[in-house]
């Protein structure tokens, strides 16, 4: 009996061990709502250490630290705009995957449309010129005679 209860205690202890370990990851999962907000906002930021990854996806130490910083700021009641300002104050617009529309980024935002417009103009001019070139011009009398003579010669030649 005593041995059975000891065994049971040991089993319970063994069972509880993984639970205790699982508890260690809690700071992240503590508040799923907050975590969702952190990841959604971090999606917009570039991880400066790996540059082509988002801050949400990166495992770089700096990204981990910054997500922690975001968590702290959100807990302190900071808005998404304030956190975005925190990021751009330190790393500039480069940290944003969607750069803001402003004087220095006009070319970036509207350049493609400019190119498209230029393409439309070039295509229009090209088609217009082509149409003019293709317009049928009636043959003059001397031209017609020459054509007939050439075609006639050709037919004769074929027949021979």
């Amino acid at each position: 009996m005593r041995r059975a209860s000891l065994l049971l205690a040991l089993m319970l202890w063994l069972l509880s061990a993984p639970l205790a370990l699982a508890n260690e990851a809690q700071p992240v999962a503590e508040d799923p709502e907050l975590e969702k907000r952190v990841l959604a906002l971090a999606e917009n930021f570039r991880c400066m250490q790996c540059q082509n990854e988002t801050l949400a996806a990166s495992h770089a130490p700096l990204a981990v630290d910054l997500r922690q910083k975001m968590r702290e700021m959100m807990r302190a009641g900071k808005s998404d705009e304030e956190i975005t300002a925190f990021m751009t104050d330190r790393w500039g617009d480069y940290v944003l995957f969607r750069p803001p529309v402003k004087l220095t980024t006009y070319l970036l935002w509207f350049g493609p449309f400019l190119l498209l417009a230029a393409g439309v103009v070039v295509q229009y001019l090209y088609l217009k010129r082509r149409r003019e070139r293709l317009r049928e011009a009636p043959l003059s009398e001397s031209e017609r005679k020459r054509v007939e003579a050439l075609l006639g010669d050709g037919l004769k030649g074929d027949g021979a």
């Binding site: 250490q49 130490p61 700096l62 630290d65 790393w91 500039g92």
Partner: protein
């Protein structure tokens, strides 16, 4: 002749864009902190964690803040250059030991020499974040009024030291 010139002109424009694009280092991003006040901080000193250092104490001096760590390989390349600079005594170099183990840092300075006037421990990397650090080593040149005047991303080479940092420091010290 004209028909031939247009594609040639387009090709040259494209080639220039590519040449410029390829010769730039994409990891170097202009810092928005240039010409802004250096973020103030209070940190424990590496040699004696009981004693703290306030960045405000540097008011009135031109100084360098060099962000480094023992785990940072590029910092080893930079180390002899910093030692050279320290030997000239032109400008005090303050080290920011970024996300590092104190014992490792002390051992490294003991082994390779210590170019720093003082080293500060930024164990959790909080000050690094305030300075927009993302590629250790980084070095900031800070003027008398506490304004960041230059940021070197990556190791200081002999060339950068001679052509940029020393002339700038001398200019700021005038």
């Amino acid at each position: 002749m004209k028909k031939f010139l247009i594609p040639l002109a387009l090709f040259i424009v494209l080639a220039v864009f590519l040449a410029v694009g390829l010769s730039r280092d994409p990891s170097e991003i202009p810092s928005p902190l240039i010409n802004k006040p250096a973020p103030a901080f209070v940190l424990p000193q590496l040699s004696d964690p009981q004693r703290s250092f306030k960045s405000d104490e540097m008011r009135g001096k031109v100084w360098l803040l060099n962000v480094w760590a023992t785990w940072c390989v590029a910092c080893r390349y930079e180390h002899p250059v910093l030692l050279d600079l320290a030997r000239t005594g032109i400008v005090p170099i303050y080290g920011l030991d970024y996300k590092d183990e104190r014992r490792d840092a002390l051992a490294l300075l003991d082994q390779l020499g210590d170019p720093y006037t003082l080293v500060l421990s930024d164990e959790d990397g909080g000050v690094g974040i305030d300075y927009g650090v993302y590629a250790v080593p980084e070095t900031f040149v800070i003027d008398r009024n506490g304004i960041i005047r230059y940021k070197q991303i990556g190791p200081i080479t002999e060339e950068v030291l001679q052509k940029k940092i020393i002339p700038l420091v001398k200019e700021l010290q005038k």
